[in-house]
Symmetry: C2
Subunit: 158 residues, 2 copies
């Protein structure tokens, strides 16, 4: 499987460079962490994952601001920025990844359609937020998000 | 895929009965949570997942006793009992699931061979710890563990 080969390269490179990551994922439900940990040796680079499926879990485990949640909703650049920053800082890793979206098939609205996802990448030097709309089924949606995470990890130079 | 049909039945049944679960998984790296959240509607029953891959994450996120970790190791009935109990209590759910094992291919020892896994299920009325040795590859290992989790959730009557 091509994506696993790409993840294996990242695991090897990050191990050599002593780079660690942590993932706070909501809509992908553990898929990103699962795929990374399919690689033997992943424990050297993968410190933890938090599947903050409920808003309660986001608040309790990742110090997400309840007022921000209320104002912007869980699927927003504001919340994903907090997810990525806070998982990085709390885990003391180099790269924090935050993911929130609407996997569907239910839960969409005109402003926030099914397939909408924000992905945040936090490092010591800054944060990158990406926004996509993946109009597909629930399982493919997770794969598309993973692809974007892997692309980012391949491209980053820290 | 047969296992997804079985998970879908659990999601429907638990939704009707208002039963929530939370998962603290180490060696399975998010696979159990990922498979449960592949079902639309899973958010009604899946409150959170914690992928406590490092010992630091186990201590910080799940209040695992560092002395117990030192004495028994992360892959032990003692630690899995703490994982299952603590994720249930901290998440305020009905069923807490804790998983710790050695997915391999490295990391085994004569006392704790590759494939060893403890799975804990905590409810208000007690705790069940299951021990298995799945001699297979890393990805199949995760599937075997999921199978046991699903069997438990199908059989429980709360």
């Amino acid at each position: 499987m091509e994506i696993l080969n790409r993840i294996e390269k990242i695991v090897k490179l990050f191990s050599q460079k002593n780079i660690q990551i942590a993932v706070a994922e909501s809509c992908t439900g553990g898929y990103v962490s699962n795929m990374i940990t399919n690689i033997s040796g992943a424990s050297a680079i993968f410190e933890r994952g938090i599947i903050c499926y409920s808003n309660k879990a986001k608040i309790e485990l990742l110090d997400i601001n309840p007022d921000s949640l209320e104002e912007h909703g869980a699927v927003s650049d504001v919340i994903v920025k907090q997810l990525a920053n806070n998982i990085r800082i709390k885990s003391k890793v180099n790269i924090g990844i935050g993911i929130s979206g609407i996997a569907g098939p239910t839960g969409g609205s005109p402003e926030k359609p099914v397939g909408l996802v924000y992905i945040g990448f936090s490092t010591e030097t800054g944060i990158t937020i990406e926004k996509y709309i993946f109009k597909t089924d629930r399982i493919n949606f997770k794969q598309k998000v993973l692809e974007k995470v892997i692309q980012y990890l391949e491209s980053i130079n820290i």
